[in-house]
Point group: C2
Chain length 213, copies 2
């Protein structure tokens, strides 16, 4: 045991939030407390980042007309995704994939321009900027769950279209439309399991020692 | 306030771990309890993933000769990174960028082959597989901190070389060498800030409303 280990109750709280976090698509439209929103964004901003580049920008959507346009963008891409899925098209179309119109807060996350000048940890793996931004979103997701708020990460959109809509500078790249807000209940398991879209694999299927083979 | 909000002490524990997690490079070589390692890998495995594809594999390095080879790979790429950094070359070479030889556990994380068949949430943003794997690593990082263990994410390596060394199948892609283990102390701030490599930007520089401009 490490001398730096948290108390049993604090340790339990950390595992609890990791296990209870869900990708939510169902929201109730009550407003999100602005102090809580600030705490969540600060949690995101405390994420690790490759070479400390902090490659994340958050665009809060408060314009209701713009929210509807983002919703339509996602609907449009969802149709293309459905077509690309072939035999699972109808099954996909029955799934609820986002909660854009009902969530209390809508936040777009983007990678900023000018990332090429960051070479530390990215010479051979330039995609580490996205990895850092994903860590930020995971921090926010966990903090939101502890605050009793649901969050969903929507990646069904055309990034070029979203960039244009939100006047993003050339070289930036949107990676998420985050739906955040109050919920009636949290899913007890991933919604895609409940809806029989996919089965969860076990950890043991993911483990190797010294060699993949 | 949400009816699903955690107790004040549980909420504090979640924020505490988010704030106290550090990217560690200094370790003491005591072994990591195998039950704790399993808990950390389970925490990683509970991460969200796009379309529930769970695109992560963990290769535990227990062969000491292999550990040394991975160390040399990182050293080799560090030299190339230093050269690419130009005027900051000497400054970079003075930084400690990894703790591979001293950490109790060394784990390589890779994206599995066959990811192309997963279209859900990836038709326009195929890189969402990496985002999911990064969320898994962030879960593991946070759980490790709560257990009193340090972790560092090393991305200074040639992925093709690492794939070959670990007999990864074609189409897989290594994204991290994770150093995990006991530490003498946790950094009080990111090491790259202490070492004057970079300054942390404020959250306010990252926020926009409705439009980037």
């Amino acid at each position: 045991m490490s001398e730096f280990q948290y108390s049993e109750s604090d340790l339990d709280a950390v595992y609890r939030v990791i296990y209870e976090r869900r990708d939510m698509r169902h929201f109730v439209p009550s407003p999100v407390d602005q102090n809580v929103l600030r705490k969540l964004l600060n949690a995101a901003h405390k994420a690790p980042s490759v070479g400390l580049m902090q490659p994340w920008r958050f665009i809060r959507i408060t314009d209701e007309a713009l929210r509807k346009i983002l919703y339509l963008c996602v609907q449009e891409e969802a149709k293309k995704t459905a077509d690309a899925l072939g035999e699972r098209k109808q099954e996909f179309l029955r799934l609820k994939i986002e909660g854009i119109l009902h969530c209390g807060e809508l936040i777009v996350v983007a990678l900023p321009p000018g990332r090429d000048k960051h070479i530390f940890g990215r010479r051979t793996l330039p995609e580490m900027d996205l990895a850092s931004a994903a860590c930020a979103i995971q921090n926010m997701w966990l903090a939101a769950r502890a605050e009793g708020l649901g969050m969903g990460w929507v990646s069904i959109f055309d990034p070029a279209e979203l960039s244009k809509l939100l006047s993003m500078p050339p070289g930036s790249h949107p990676i998420a439309i985050l739906c955040l807000g109050h919920v009636k209940e949290f899913y007890s398991e991933p919604m895609l399991v409940t809806e029989n879209w996919a089965e969860e694999k076990s950890l043991d299927e993911m483990l190797h020692e010294n060699s993949w083979e």
